[in-house]
């Protein structure tokens, strides 16, 4: 069975990388451990090693292609004794896990004739791995092949959009390439989204129950896919000491007046987190922004979403002007919003908008996690559990209450240093909670 080589993830957070260059050519024999290609992210260059022996049957993603999604099919290796030409033809349109690749060849694939010699792969096939025909002049095809550039990434300016010599030359000279090729654009969703029937085939009938999606599930799926596909996330993690905050919280809650036999408020750690993030955004207003294609929206109010888990999903009600509200006001507002969220009684204007959000899984003992940005927010703060940890102070181990938080950041709107400034301000408020009150 042909072996599909997929775009590897060089780190848990990597979503896409650039295919810098191929170290093997189509038709090259490879053995386990051979370096096939180099992948680069904006931070590092890594090598893709062959796991199995065989022949490199087909390079699907040309060298120099940027932003190749993780798990995208990048090459096909014919196993030992396999026909290289038919292996090359087999993958093409099915950059899915191995089993699926051979089980369900996509109908749109343009398989190369089995007799085609490997040395002369049809230029069309090489250019359009997903089977979509690319119209290009013979000279353009040859220049693209020689220059190792994917024709599908070039916009044609010839008759009827045909790719001609000048287009390839412009691309080789560093001209703009289409961000996502027709090939990878159509291949990527296939990689993540096999047809339902294909997925169901992977499980024994009768061993699962089908639960239809409700509209909340569909919305979550759509928005988070959108977020992960369109927002360049990066992540910043810091540890915050909570001892002063815990002490202050105790004092604050102890002093709560009673109303009708119950305390007027009971401030939670999460309420402090909301207030601290709001204060941090006030201190670092450049991070209180929203990305749009045309401009950056810099907001004058600080509205924070707070993720609330509810049966069957989650929703993120928004605490408006959180920087101006007292802890007790935030606390009571959150209780009301969360209660109504659970009953799905929130009005749209109560969960839309905002520039950042808080997602707290500390109550489940989660130490540290990374959250998906909820558009149109520019950031989201993932809050882990407050726990006693050994920390080193003045060269001495000592025990402190520590909470890890991770800020997910939309790099289009907030760069690394700015994000660091924001999360540092947040830590300052958490570790010096009196500063929030004055």
């Amino acid at each position: 069975m042909p072996i599909n080589i997929l775009m590897p993830a060089l780190s848990p957070t990597m979503e896409k990388g650039n295919l810098a260059r191929w170290l093997k050519k189509e038709g090259d024999k490879i053995k386990a451990g051979d370096v096939l290609a180099e992948i680069e992210t904006d931070k590092a260059t890594m090598e893709v090693e062959a796991v199995d022996e065989g022949t490199l049957a087909k390079i699907v993603i040309a060298a120099g292609t940027s932003d190749v999604p993780v798990n995208q099919l990048i090459a096909i290796v014919a196993g030992e004794g396999e026909d290289v030409a038919s292996a090359a033809a087999s993958g093409g349109a099915a950059p899915a896990p191995k089993a699926a690749a051979s089980a369900a060849p996509a109908p749109s694939a343009a398989p190369a004739p089995a007799s085609a010699p490997v040395a002369a792969p049809a230029a069309i096939a090489a250019a359009a791995p997903a089977g979509a025909r690319v119209f290009a002049s013979p000279l353009a095809k040859r220049l693209a092949k020689d220059g190792n550039i994917d024709l599908a990434r070039i916009s044609g300016t010839g008759p009827h959009g045909r790719i001609v010599e000048r287009d390839v030359k412009a691309a080789l000279a560093g001209g703009a390439l289409k961000p996502a090729t027709a090939a990878s654009a159509s291949a990527a969703p296939m990689a993540s989204g096999m047809a339902d029937e294909q997925i169901k085939k992977l499980f024994q009938p009768g061993t699962y129950e089908e639960i239809p999606h409700d509209s909340m599930r569909k919305t979550i799926a759509r928005r988070l896919v959108e977020a992960k596909q369109t927002i360049p996330h990066f992540y910043l993690t810091v540890d915050c000491e909570l001892d002063k905050l815990m002490a202050l919280r105790e004092d604050v809650n102890k002093g709560a007046p009673e109303v009708g036999g119950k305390p007027a408020y009971k401030v939670s750690v999460n309420d402090f987190v909301i207030k601290a993030l709001a204060m941090a955004l006030k201190k670092v207003p450049d991070a209180n922004v929203t990305w749009t294609e045309g401009a950056m929206l810099k907001h004058s109010t600080i509205d924070l979403g707070v993720a609330v888990s509810i049966p069957g999903g989650l929703i993120t009600p928004v605490v408006r002007n959180a920087d101006t509200k007292s802890l007790s006001a935030i606390s009571n507002e959150m209780k009301d919003l969360a209660a109504r969220a659970r009953n799905r009684k929130l009005k749209p204007d109560e969960y839309q908008g905002g520039t950042s959000a808080v997602s707290n899984l500390g109550m489940f003992g989660i130490k540290h996690f990374s959250a998906v940005i909820n558009p149109p927010h520019a950031t989201i703060l993932a809050v882990g559990a407050g726990e006693q940890r050994v920390v080193v102070k003045n060269g001495q181990p000592t025990v402190a209450n520590v909470m890890s938080v991770t800020l997910s950041t939309d790099h289009r709107a907030v760069d690394g240093a700015l994000g660091a400034e924001l999360i540092s301000a947040f830590r300052h408020y958490i570790e010096n909670p009196m500063a929030m009150l004055v």
Binding site: S137, P138, L139, A140, R142, L143, D146, T157, V164, E165
Partner: protein
């Protein structure tokens, strides 16, 4: 008082002007052409077309003289009647001149008769022509508009070019000719000096030599037909010399003395050697210059360079609303270049998706005997441009059809970029090559590489098979050589 405004007004009814006008009309523009002498311009009145008629007479005369080579016998002597040869040529011209008038009328293009001056952007004043028309003149078409002020949103200057004049060797219409007189002489001279070996000079040299005239060609550059590939020019030169044309290269005419019915040309080569050539007539064929005068272009501030109007490749000048196409917009000064440039210009005005013309893909044809045709870069120019080249050659002697035609002399040369297989140039000399070159022009425009050309089936038996063989020769796989 201005007349109803036109969308497009074209100054000059030559091949560039009238073709642009028809295309403009097709695109729905209200269009007019201003012409002061003759619809069809130099091309079909005093250039391309009437010379082809003359050369056809010469060609048939040549074959008649060599009838025995084909097993034929002509009783008596084959002779010609110069006035009848010229009459035929003028008749061909007249027919096409009328044809242009018909086409313009059919496409509802107004023809304004007179000389145009762009008085301001969007306005052209037409007055009676001050230029004495070359005689005999085809009559002005019926129903033309006359003098007046015409408004137009877009004005296209397509005024062409005229013979270049060297100081001291000014054509006088009697002893020193330009193509006007050479095409329409009262009688054929017995001896002739042709100054310049470009397409015009060589065609007249070839024509008059075939008609029995003693012809000397004087070329200032080291190579005849200087724009052609050196190897092709060398083959052509050999054929011309075999036909009895005397050729002097690297030689210039320094002085001309006019006698009662002859001229004495003092020539000097690049080493300083002097000679005196005596002949009945001298043809001055040293190129052409753009007709930019009297149009009001200077006043409008239209940018010029070396006598030609500067455009952006799509006909647009630096002055919005004023365009230039064809000879007046610079070389190559060829009718088919003007036509294509005019179409690009009009389509650009319409807002269609256009590209500036790729000038390296404009073919050139010379209808001497043997014919010369080429497109793209010469071998020398290709190397100059930094290409590593693969060159293919195929001689006519290896082609069955050429042998059957009795035309075994000639060469088809192709030049490829060794790296990409791009066809950089194709150059031919020999029978009918002017009709063959278009195959390569299409190939170049479609950006074919050697691979597609090699995989193309060429019909047998044709001269075109040599085009195939030449390509294969460049890649070491020629069959018949």
């Amino acid at each position: 008082m201005a007349n109803a405004p036109y969308d497009i007004l074209i100054i000059g009814g030559g091949p560039g002007g009238y073709v642009s006008a028809i295309r403009a009309a097709q695109l729905g523009f209200k269009t007019a052409v201003v012409e002061r002498e003759h619809l069809g311009g130099i091309c079909l009145n005093w250039g391309c077309i009437p010379t082809k008629a003359l050369l056809r007479s010469a060609e048939i005369f040549h074959y008649a003289q060599h009838a025995e080579d084909y097993g034929l016998k002509i009783e008596g002597k084959v002779t010609f009647d110069p006035s009848a040869v010229i009459k035929r040529s003028r008749g061909v011209s007249a027919q096409l001149n009328g044809g242009v008038g018909f086409l313009l009328k059919k496409n509802k293009v107004d023809v304004i008769w007179g000389e145009a001056n762009i008085t301001k952007v969007g306005e052209v004043t037409v007055s009676a022509s001050k230029k004495p028309a070359v005689q005999p003149q085809h009559p002005a078409p019926k129903g033309v508009l006359g003098e007046g002020v015409y408004a137009a949103k877009h004005i296209i200057v397509a005024t062409g070019a005229r013979p270049r004049v060297l100081p001291g060797i000014e054509p006088d219409g009697k002893l020193i000719w330009t193509y006007f007189e050479a095409m329409n002489p009262p009688s054929f001279p017995k001896s002739l000096v042709v100054m310049g070996s470009g397409a015009i000079g060589i065609e007249f040299a070839s024509f008059y030599r075939t008609m029995g005239c003693e012809v000397t060609v004087v070329e200032v550059l080291p190579q005849i037909m200087p724009v052609e590939d050196a190897e092709i020019a060398a083959v052509a030169r050999k054929r011309f010399e075999k036909a009895g044309i005397k050729i002097m290269t690297s030689t210039k005419v320094v002085k001309v003395e006019k006698g009662a019915n002859d001229v004495t040309c003092h020539v000097e080569d690049d080493k300083g050697a002097k000679q005196v050539l005596k002949a009945e007539r001298l043809i001055s064929a040293v190129g052409v210059v753009c007709n930019t005068e009297g149009l009001g272009l200077e006043k409008l501030g239209v940018k010029m360079d070396r006598g030609a109007v500067v455009t952006d490749g799509k006909g647009r000048t630096n002055v919005p609303g004023v365009y230039a196409i064809g000879d007046v917009a610079g070389p190559p000064m060829l009718a088919h270049k003007a036509e294509h440039e005019g179409v690009i210009c009009v389509e650009t005005i319409k807002g269609l998706h256009t590209h500036a013309m790729e000038k390296t893909m404009i073919p050139g044809c010379t209808y001497c005997h043997p014919q010369v045709a080429s497109v793209g870069l010469t071998e020398a120019k290709a190397k100059e441009a930094g290409h590593t080249v693969k060159v293919g050659r195929f001689s006519f002697v290896g082609n069955g059809k050429a042998i059957a035609l009795g035309e075994p002399e000639g060469l088809v040369k192709t030049i490829f970029d060794a790296k990409s297989g791009k066809l950089l140039g194709a150059h031919m000399v020999g029978a009918e090559v002017t009709e063959l070159i278009q195959g390569y022009v299409i190939a170049m425009n479609l950006e074919t590489t050697e691979e597609e050309l090699i995989h193309t089936v060429f019909p047998h038996p044709t001269l075109s098979e040599m085009m195939h063989e030449s390509v294969m020769d460049a890649y070491g796989r020629v069959i018949h050589s």
